[in-house]
């Protein structure tokens, strides 16, 4: 076995897949909706991670691209009467173009300034969306209501199950695409640009092209997530796309693990359920519990950066590696692993 953690990783992936497929037939109603939300957030987090984790471009404004996807899909469905399976891809193409175009000035910004510009984008988004001049399209501050897509009759599914499975299929396909992207030549180029921009250019990588395209692809992911969220929620309104959403994405990729695609699932679970649990606590502990998600986010952002910059995914990987190497008899391994064995002694059976 080339890599000790590999087999365990495959097992975990299969288990997650089986669980995700079985989920719509075991759960119902609100739980299915939450499941779909997690998948939607996961798509957005993968997109942001491609940009920030792998390519090192900081975006504090991905909620804006999520909003373009949401509104784009909603407008195409409500005003143009397109079905969701046509509206969402079209809206995400718009997102790709928007991201690509935003990526151009971003080339000149450099890390910190890009963070600043995207922060401004995130703060201004709700105002732009409720702008009077475009309210014939966007419904102004009222927003738009979208009919939930009906499942095809032959499937025999109810609309919650159908929606969940659509999200699952999208998340699966986009995860697979991102995985192939970062494992190949493109991924290595993105990482090289992040770590050694000058060396990367010297080696013939067209940094400008890669960075703008990466921005576009990342925005496309956010757009798909936004479009799916529009049909899952059945409603879009300006207030849901503020700075809080963009920052929640950042929290998601940091907690899940920067530059880790699998971590997106942890991150999505985290940002979906922490506010949820805090809401439930509000019932028993009063208004003060409203501050809880923010406090947890803030403390975790700092702690993760200080103690485990690779996030949950990194810790899980390290744990798996340690576990696998302590299981295998020591004569199979080289001398290097003796040290790992000594470290693992505490928990070894």
């Amino acid at each position: 076995m080339a890599e000790p953690g590999r087999a365990l990783g495959v097992l975990v992936a299969i288990a997650v897949g089986v669980f995700a497929l079985a989920f719509p037939f075991a759960a119902s109603g609100y739980h299915l909706y939450q499941g779909a939300q997690v998948l939607i957030l996961m798509i957005a987090l993968i997109g942001l991670n491609l940009l920030t984790g792998f390519n090192g471009q900081i975006s504090l404004g991905h909620g804006a691209f999520f909003a373009i996807g949401s509104y784009g899909a909603a407008i195409l469905m409500v005003k143009a009467g397109l079905p969701f399976w046509a509206a969402i891809p079209l809206a995400s193409v718009v997102c790709f173009i928007a991201g690509f175009l935003f990526g151009f000035p971003a080339l000149r910004f450099g890390g910190l300034y890009l963070a600043l510009a995207t922060f401004a984008l995130a703060v201004a988004t709700p105002q732009i969306l409720s702008y009077n001049g475009i309210d014939a399209l966007t419904g102004g501050s009222q927003g738009l209501t979208i009919a939930k897509p009906a499942p095809p009759v032959w499937t025999g599914l109810n609309s919650d199950q159908w929606l969940y499975l659509v999200c699952l299929a999208s998340a699966g396909a986009l995860y697979w695409a991102a995985r192939n992207l970062v494992r190949g030549r493109v991924g290595r180029a993105l990482i090289a640009i992040r770590d050694q921009p000058i060396a990367a250019e010297t080696m013939g990588i067209n940094a400008a092209l890669y960075k703008t395209t990466c921005f576009g692809v990342s925005a496309l992911y956010a757009g798909v997530a936004g479009g799916l969220s529009a049909i899952a929620v059945g409603f879009v309104s300006p207030e849901s796309f503020g700075l809080a959403l963009s920052l929640a994405f950042l929290v998601g990729i940091v907690v899940g693990g920067l530059a880790s695609l699998g971590g997106a699932l942890f991150g999505a679970l985290f940002i979906e359920f922490v506010p949820n649990i805090a809401d439930q606590l509000t019932v028993s502990f009063g208004e003060g519990a409203k501050a809880l998600p923010g406090a947890i986010y803030g403390v975790l952002l700092i702690l993760v950066m200080a103690a485990m910059p690779t996030g949950v995914a990194g810790v899980a990987q390290a744990a798996a590696r340690a576990l696998m190497s302590s299981w295998r008899p020591s004569h199979e391994k080289g001398g290097v692993n003796v040290a790992a064995n000594c470290q693992g002694k505490g928990e070894a059976p």
């Binding site: 000149r108 910004f109 510009a117 401004a120 803030g298 952002l301 700092i302």
Partner: protein, 290 residues
């Protein structure tokens, strides 16, 4: 014409607040080449602190002074405890830590003081000393406060040994250390000063934007725009930029796009400046050694 002058005057008052905020940002940027995304929430928290003091019977100026001192101490502590460990971390890590700080202050304020919007008294009442008819007493007063802050900050950096040491530490940390300046402490004092200056901005903004945990979002965005416009490494530029952005935001909001999309003006300014003149009007062009 009267309406126009009114917009300009209140833009100047707001611009003064943005200018102080931008100055706080520049103070940290000069020393560390980082933009403190938590500056707005820190100022908001200081403002709540002042409000709490006044609520328990303190006179305005007493609370004002105590808040500034407390903010200074708070800023120093934040630098020592939270920011210092990330001194050599990549930009992304620092940005994430700042966002974390912003989250913490926001939720701390919400938890301690509640999420409802509260009014915040202005010390300036009655007729304004100047510009009567075009601005309120608070706007006139906050322009005066802005000028006082700017004069004090200028005098501090220009005429005191500590100010000189801080400038030296920011410009050339290695040489400063060799001549005996404790560079680490200079950074901490810089953070303290930024927090103190920010608290003044918060207390001047609060009577206009009202007090709530998210009050500084818009102010911080305009301060960013001001700092970028003037050049984020130039204190004079940041002040100039802050005032220009305040007036411009008001005028464009009133006559061009409408008040409800005023924040996009800041966004447009930031992007336009970064595209056409990334170093701002008064900033130094950045030349990096490869």
């Amino acid at each position: 014409m009267g309406e126009f002058l009114h917009q300009v005057a209140s833009g100047l008052a707001l611009g003064g607040v943005y200018a102080i905020m931008a100055l706080a940002l520049v103070m940290i940027y000069q020393a560390t080449q980082l933009i403190n995304f938590a500056q707005g929430e820190m100022a908001m928290f200081s403002t709540y602190f002042a409000w709490k003091l006044m609520d328990s019977g303190w006179p305005y100026w007493g609370a004002f002074a105590v808040t500034i001192v407390a903010s200074f101490i708070g800023g120093v502590l934040i630098e020592r405890l939270v920011v210092r460990p990330f001194a050599n971390a990549p930009v992304l890590a620092s940005v994430i830590v700042f966002i974390g700080l912003a989250f913490i202050f926001n939720s701390l304020a919400g938890w301690l003081y509640g999420y409802s919007v509260t009014s915040f008294d202005s010390p300036f009442t009655g007729r304004p000393w100047f510009g009567a008819g075009y601005m309120s007493a608070h706007e006139a007063g906050s322009i005066v406060v802005t000028l006082c802050v700017l004069a004090l900050v200028y005098a501090f950096f220009r005429f005191t040994p500590l100010g000189l040491a801080m400038r030296a530490a920011a410009q050339n940390p290695v040489s400063s250390r060799l001549v005996g300046i404790r560079v680490g402490w200079m950074l901490a004092i810089g953070w303290g000063l930024a927090a103190a200056i920010g608290s003044v901005a918060g207390m001047m903004a609060a009577p206009i934007v009202y007090l709530d945990p998210n009050m500084m979002g818009g102010v911080l965005l305009y301060a960013f725009a001001g700092a970028v416009l003037g050049g984020v490494d130039s204190p004079f530029g940041a002040v100039f930029g802050g005032i220009v952005v305040g007036v411009l935001g008001n005028l464009v909001g009133a006559y061009v796009v409408g008040d409800e999309v005023k924040l996009s003006v800041a966004l447009a300014i930031i992007i336009a400046v970064l595209v056409w003149r990334p170093s701002g009007l008064f900033g130094r062009k950045l030349v990096a050694r490869v």
